[in-house]
Symmetry: C2
Subunit: 358 residues, 2 copies
Amino acid sequence: MTLVGVVGGGQLGLMLGLAGARLGLRFRFLDPAPEAPAGRVGELLVGAYDDGELLARLGEGADALTYEFENLPAHAAPPALLPPPAALAAGQDRLDEKRLFGRLGIATAPHRPVDARDDLEGVALPAVLKTRRLGYDGKGQAVLRDEHDVERAWAELGGVPLILEELVPFERELSILAVRGRDGATAFWSLAENVHREGILRLSRAPAAPKLQAEAEALAAAVLDELGYVGVLCVELFEHEGRLLANELAPRVHNSGHWTIDGAATSQFENHLRAILGLPLGPTHALAPSAMVNLIGDVPPLEAMLAVDGARPHVYGKAPRPGRKVGHVTLLDPDRDRLERLLGLAGEPTGSAATIAA
Amino acid sequence: MTLVGVVGGGQLGLMLGLAGARLGLRFRFLDPAPEAPAGRVGELLVGAYDDGELLARLGEGADALTYEFENLPAHAAPPALLPPPAALAAGQDRLDEKRLFGRLGIATAPHRPVDARDDLEGVALPAVLKTRRLGYDGKGQAVLRDEHDVERAWAELGGVPLILEELVPFERELSILAVRGRDGATAFWSLAENVHREGILRLSRAPAAPKLQAEAEALAAAVLDELGYVGVLCVELFEHEGRLLANELAPRVHNSGHWTIDGAATSQFENHLRAILGLPLGPTHALAPSAMVNLIGDVPPLEAMLAVDGARPHVYGKAPRPGRKVGHVTLLDPDRDRLERLLGLAGEPTGSAATIAA
């Protein structure tokens, strides 16, 4: 029996557990919420992510130890953790990330650290001000278009280390999912194009931007090797004037890779497990064009989703709450009409498919 | 929250649970074994299949009640059970099955009931003598080639109702998986070709015998409608001189349909759940040619299985035991060489792919 310990028991943990259950793997999760979704597919330890005693229990007898939540305090990370604690740390600080990209010759939007109010004097606008740490789903950031925005953003975010990034008028957001095994072997999924709504991922489509695939793989490979990475990594990117700008790292399985469950030969979840357990990586090619729509707030009736031909709903079993990711639906071989129906079910206004998936 | 109660908690229950977990369904299983595999993906009630109190608890608050083990005593079957208790009963008696086929004009091998030793006097040999009830994986049957076999078989099997079937020199064994929804809608997967070893399924390949697909679908449809069936049904068939002979029914998800998890647009497990819950059925077309190899006795190293390109191992987490089904591996787009490697890992002698998968 092979046991995997996972820090975090949210939907990413649930999907890791489902991918691993098929392979006969057992799971133990650590999550502060007794109703954490992953508890349905493994043992659940309930407590804080940095509780030393629980982290020790999480690792007891485990063949691999990983996380599905990158805000685990790096100082508390057990040394056996994969991806390695250094990767976790790199993904926790937006400035460190940018510095890593810079060291590797990977282009980013122009940026600067902001530690004091003075650092915001006379800066070029528009720009986006972000906390260096602990941001996700659009939290901890503000777009600055004028001096009024600067005042308000400083009042809201000031006092912790910040980073100011030039607001590049990019054509679209892309992401690349990559995986590296214990033996250094790597594999890459097709680029996904991502559309956000109020800072939360709404829609991913893959394969996207085949002309940029080689460039994206090269930059992801550089990051993987630099960090001695083991597991799945996501690099979020902007496409701007035909080039890629690296935006952020997520040192874990990622929402923009959920399409791989239904649409790729091996999912991000299965390959993450294969990587951290030292097993051979599976093939990553796309089986079909895929569109992935996030379900946010609450889950539409299963019957309605299943009535859309080729729709593959994934329901996390979380209580409904505004702004909460409660599921996703992958649509294989999407056409405008079926995607429109699915986006409608997910709460988007009529005509969304034409505007957000053009 | 939608809850499904399942009588039986073996690997079929586990795979139902995994298919349903993705859709956000919850499960409750009833199984005599506290270590039943399905306990990893749902609540497990431990006790006998015909324990009235536990069956009542199994159904408490459940949106659907089904089974993964067809030897549940039909008299104990709760009325809400799907497939309906009549289908369960039909699948429990080989003679009743044959009579059902006969009533529907579906060809079978010549057969006769055997209730006394005298019924075996002067019968045409070779033939196969089977208990009418409770046989599986080659148990409860004996091939009769001469009078010596008749003596031995009677000594072993006599005393319970038996059926004698003429041993048809069929070219190959096939099976069709079919599903019928609560609304009477039906869907069919591609015919699979099945190879047994010592009475246990060793290898299934699908799609097989496309020329016989329409005939197979028609006979399965007749059975589904006759029984007012809801859920997945398997009809095991012989191909003999270009026609189909019906052999047996399995009124449940079936081992010869495991390829559908990886190789079909919707798996037998997901469509069984959709059917019993009154949800729309999913498309059943094959995504790729598939070969499914059963792992019998024990599980080869995961690493070796994953090293076979396109292999998708499914490990049930059962203790090793000779003759026990402990997992299966689906190979997509199988070629001779990779299938040979996989069969070798599963314990078949070198050269098996050439002989059993020609």
